[in-house]
Symmetry: C2
Subunit: 337 residues, 2 copies
């Protein structure tokens, strides 16, 4: 695969991420035993988008109270559900994202429990939080964050007597990275073909729902807009028919992210519309990937990781075809604002 080190992936996401299981469960069990009032999932950009699937899964599987909040807004809004009894989970690849670091400091000072997901241990976010789980690698850190969030969030549900299958789930999390690698390999040709075909496309719609809404939002904003400077509209499948549909013409690029959770019919509906109205419909469906060893009942949850892994294979080909390095920025972290 282009610009991809399978050994590194299996080491980082497969071995090292999975090796944190005992530590993560220890943190969660300790917090669950003491009791807490609610969960706050806090991030900015890609890292808040990454929390949305878990907020969705909690809402649809658990009575635990959960709030996913953008760090900078959380800091000013005086959120009335936040208290010293809250458990706050933060993520930042660099560990330096200003708003997220400030929010972690804020929550810690008020006595809430704080957990951080960070690439490197010696960074501001890692040092502020009560419990830090590090990926050890900036590369593949989102894939690793997803692994860690599976263990964190589902363990909280398990401890709340709402997810009896946790042990089975955690065992499948451990084999997920190999399944992701196979999924990426099988998607590689489609990723390349998409990038070649769309190297000059100046606008994409991305549509998803449920546990894939976060990826939909994130890929549009953090990859296509930030890393490729391509205009992109992310739109929830349930909202697509309330406005954005009117823009679809026969050459409009519509990227549909299909998963296997209960929101799939919402995306099916967009598909039925789009396949009639545009020639440029591109569907990424987690159902198409074998995911060896993953049981039927867990596939929907793992869609977050599967979708994100294959989606990002497109990025490296867009970079090559468009001759636009993913690291190039006009403004971000290049100036003060």
């Amino acid at each position: 695969m282009l610009k991809f080190d399978s050994d590194l992936f299996l080491q980082a996401v497969g071995k090292e991420a999975i090796a944190e299981r005992e530590k993560i469960e220890g943190i969660v069990d300790h917090i669950s035993a003491k009791g807490f009032s609610n969960l706050f999932l806090i991030g900015a950009g890609g890292t808040i988008a990454m929390m949305y699937p878990y907020e969705y899964i909690l809402k649809s599987n658990s009575t635990l109270e959960v709030h996913a909040e953008i760090a900078a807004e959380f800091m000013v809004m005086n959120h009335k559900h936040f208290s010293k009894d809250s458990v706050c989970i933060f993520a930042s690849v660099s560990g330096t994202t200003k708003e997220t670091v400030a929010a972690a400091q804020f929550c810690k000072e008020r006595g809430a429990k704080t957990i951080g997901l960070v690439a490197n241990p010696n960074t501001p976010l890692a040092e502020i939080v009560d419990h830090c789980i590090t990926t050890g690698h900036e590369k593949h850190s989102f894939d690793t964050f997803f692994i860690h969030l599976y263990m964190l969030v589902f363990r909280f549900m398990h401890n709340n007597n709402e997810f009896p299958l946790y042990d089975k789930f955690a065992k499948e999390v451990a084999i997920l990275p190999q399944a992701l690698l196979s999924a990426m390999e099988s998607f590689e040709q489609r990723a390349e073909a998409f990038a070649i075909k769309h190297k000059n496309t100046d606008y994409h719609m991305l549509v998803g729902a449920g546990s894939l809404w976060g990826n939909t939002y994130s890929y549009a904003m953090c990859i296509l807009e930030e890393m490729q400077w391509i205009r992109s509209k992310s739109i929830h499948a349930a909202e697509f028919f309330h406005g954005t549909l009117e823009l679809v013409e026969e050459n409009t690029s519509v990227i549909l992210l299909k998963g296997e959770d209960e929101t799939r019919p919402l995306v099916d509906r967009v598909e039925r519309f789009a396949e009639k109205m545009t020639k440029e419909l591109f569907i990424i469906d987690t159902k198409e990937f074998a995911l060896e060893g993953i049981s039927e009942e867990m596939r929907a949850y793992f869609g977050i990781s599967v979708n994100w892994a294959v989606l990002n294979r497109i990025s490296v080909y867009l970079e090559r075809e468009r001759n636009h390095p993913l690291e190039t920025r006009r403004y971000y972290r290049k100036m003060e604002y």
Copy 2:
């Protein structure tokens, strides 16, 4: 003002909407007295967007549990916080929006309290809900919905001992329509100038936060995309710096919706960036409107109405300048999908 009947506005939003105060308070007081577990605000497209400000206000002013959910997603997600003890508020101008009607039916059947905001009484949504508040006019129904939601939501907070100023607030709601009319009149020239200048602009960014995020999302999707077929990206001010900023060039249209709640500094930050990077920055700031009779402490709440009223003055000029009637649709309600 172009295509605007001031008398009708003052009659519909000023008199008739305000006349529902006693009825609304009666509904809320009855529900509060019996007790309930949480509030669900449910809609689709413009009507879920309309709920977001009130979700934000509740989160930042009240310990009442609130969930704003897209109707079609709510129907499939098996929301674990919804129960017969929930209070569900729905809105649909036509009263026929399929997903919203289905969600109201679903909630009612499960024993939850249901309240509907609808233009006309003899419509499916109006007939399903326990309590229906009608606007009586399709025209200005969003302005009226906002008025009704002020009374509904703030009364719930009041009854929860979290908004002692309710009486003063409700009195100011009653004079708000006149203040809105004056705001629109004073904005008229700017609305026209914007539409003339941007009649051929094929892409706009809209940025807002806090209690104006719903309007930001809605104006992009339901007006610019749906009614004018112009590509538009709505982006939360706190998220703007995590991707979308990279698209800004000196001719990029950036529309900033500024309000007076505690998220204003987030929008200020985007302003500082955008005024350096583009010549096409257009700011709509609620602070610029006199709002006679409205006290300083209430202005932030009323920003929702003020912003929406003036923002929509742009629409009629875009329609004229672009020779594209606001009612023209390619697909919506013109075909099955």
